[in-house]
Amino acid sequence: MIKIKDLQARVEEKEILRGINLEINPGEVHAIMGPNGSGKSTLSSVIAGREDYEVTGGAIYFEGEDLLDLDPEERAHKGIFLSFQYPVEIPGVTVSNFIKTAINESRKGRGEEPMEAREMLAKMREKTALLEMDKSYLSRSLNEGFSGGEKKRNEIFQMAMLEPKLAILDETDSGLDIDALRIVANGVNKLRSEDNAVVVITHYQRLLDYIEPDFVHVLYNGKIVKSGDKNLALELEAKGYDWIKAENA
């Protein structure tokens, strides 16, 4: 689905990604772990197309197509979704109007007709129920005054509505209590299929207890220095990152 080849990127003059190689296939769940400042959020931002980052080398192919020339919205239209670590508050725009716009702009981008109002409504009802959200969420201003947990749940709600092929969850577990974590993880699991893939970026094993990864990668100093199965995450949880740092010093 997505192939990342020797990806290098920097922000201003600072090199952050120093040659990332990663391939993700449909149906897979990958976890990316690593200490603070290793480049995890940069990697997700570069995949989603944030303009603050300058790609200085390498390539990203999404379903065979070069992704780096596309605007963030075009990447979204192709089925890439990034769940933000810090979702942005947009006062004056309700959740329901926002998601309607996002869905119909994506459909427009793909040359499809807008979704029928009835279908939209039914889908919103289904997905709010999935995430155990009260329907009153839909008429609130986007993320405004939401608690940390509500914001994250709202991210997964949007993911559920947009049905992306590749979902990148950037520290979706941070700021969640255990109940919210269970609900969010349950939502993600329900959305998993043979046709889509999920990348979970996290510091902790905790979320991976609920969303079981097929592969775990350790990002350090802008490179993937170790890959393994779910046991690697357990090892990191037990031993911390110092041994990784020592191995790569």
Partner: protein, 439 residues
């Protein structure tokens, strides 16, 4: 002294001849005194503190015609788009400063909604009591208007009455006189516990420059309620100095909303005199302008009595090479204890060439008050923009959505849904976006 000032002075001699024998001698004397003050002061320049950021010179240099002829060729079709078509209203339409009975719908039934020209002759006692009592002598543009203005809206709502539908006041300028200098005047008297909603706009239909020096005096008696909406979306040939002065008594509630989307140069001098306890003064507005346009909001709230509330919220969005000014003065006099005054001016610059000067000015002489103020100038939050785009919303729509979200809380106090809808349409057009998502 500028050429225009000279022209005005000599025109007054002609105008004065026409005043001889007028019934209302008090007004005639008032005009003469006002003209003397104008002659002494002349037009303000950027050396005047109050005009530091807005240079009038380029718009005053035109060879304006001062004594204007009306034009009979204007039809309802020409002006229809400037009225709220989906709303039943009283209408006062002025063409080149003169009342058009053909295009208007006035009334004398239980309230007077008619003209200043008629009131000058019919109600000398009322004029003696109110004229010039809110707009202060000594302000150049007010003085100039006092000297010349002979028509405008006259609205008087008697005690305990609610005007059954909004009043639309439309000032139209045409090419009939070439470049024209208009001076109209409103006198709005809302008596005890009465209520009225007023919409007002100035529109230049022609292709030549126009300058309007406009004065509106509003008197809100005890517990009166006034909503006064100004839609400024004139052509880039039109300049306007709007002097609106509101005098409030105990328990009155006045809202003036100013929505500025066009014109070459617009200066709003909006003054509230809060002269009775528990009065509420609301002023808010949205400014969205582009290349070559200037909008300058100069506001004053003068808290004279205790326990009053004032709320001021202005949002500005600047595109192209535009210039915005906000100068908000809050004066709390020693007697005005327990005043609660809120002021906020937020601006977004959508272009590198746009410029904003914003200045809150607080003068507080009472010790037990709550006064908050703030001003911001910024650009759209890049992080938020990326957030929207990452969800599939194209850049342009995302910018529009964020800009709209930024400005829309300044529309919250509008009591006429049709006006709000209309303004949303103008905002969408100015920002070049589809606003369905936000409505």
């Amino acid at each position: 002294m500028t050429d225009l000032a000279q022209d005005l002075l000599s025109s007054f001699v002609v105008a004065e001849a026409g005043l001889n024998g007028a019934k209302n001698l008090g007004v005639v004397n008032m005009r003469k005194e006002a003209l003397d003050r104008f002659e002494a002061a002349g037009f303000p320049t950027t050396r005047d503190e109050e005009w530091k950021y807005t240079n009038l010179k380029p718009v005053l240099k035109h060879d304006y015609k001062i004594m204007l002829k009306s034009e009979s060729a204007v039809s309802f079709g020409d002006i229809k788009q400037y009225l709220l078509s989906d709303l039943d209203t009283y209408k006062l339409v002025f063409i080149n400063g003169k009342y058009s009975s053909w295009l208007s719908e006035s009334t004398h039934q239980s309230y007077d909604i008619c003209t200043f020209a008629a009131a000058l002759n019919k109600y000398p006692d009322v004029l003696a009591e109110y004229l010039g009592k809110a707009a202060p002598a000594g302000e150049t543009f007010v003085d100039l208007n006092t000297a010349f203005a002979d028509d405008g809206a006259y609205i008087r709502v008697k005690a305990n009455q609610t005007v059954d539908k909004p009043i639309e006041i439309l000032y139209i300028t045409t090419d009939e006189n070439g470049t024209s200098f208009s001076q109209n005047r409103n006198l709005i008297i809302v008596e005890q516990n009465a209520e009225v909603q007023i919409l007002e706009r100035h529109q230049n239909l022609g292709n030549t420059e126009s300058f309007t020096n406009f004065v509106s005096e509003v008197f809100a008696a005890r517990d009166a309620r006034v909503s006064y909406y100004k839609v400024q979306n004139d052509s880039d040939k039109a300049s306007l100095v709007d002097n609106t002065h509101v005098k409030q008594a105990t328990g009155s509630n006045v809202h003036v909303g100013t929505y500025s989307f066009g014109g070459k140069l617009v200066r709003n001098n909006l003054h509230f005199y809060s002269g009775g306890e528990h009065a509420e003064s609301h002023m808010d507005g949205i400014t969205i302008i582009g290349d070559g346009q200037t909008v300058d909001h100069h506001t004053l709230v003068d808290h004279q009595e205790p326990n009053c509330y004032s709320r001021e919220l202005y949002k500005g969005i600047y595109l192209g090479k535009s210039h915005g000014v906000f100068n908000g003065k809050v004066l709390v006099r020693q007697k005005a204890q327990k005043t609660n005054a809120f002021q906020q001016n937020d601006n977004i610059l959508l272009s590198d060439k746009a410029k904003v000067d914003t200045k809150p000015q607080l003068e507080i002489f009472a010790d037990d008050v709550r006064c908050s103020h703030g001003c911001t100038v910024g650009q759209l939050d890049k992080n938020a923009l990326f957030y929207l785009r990452s969800r599939g919303i194209p850049k342009r729509e995302a910018q529009g959505l964020m800009t709209y979200a930024f400005a829309s809380d300044a529309l919250e106090y509008i009591k006429i849904p049709q006006l709000e809808k209309r303004l949303n349409g103008v905002i969408a057009e100015k920002l070049g976006i589809n606003l369905e998502f936000a409505l």
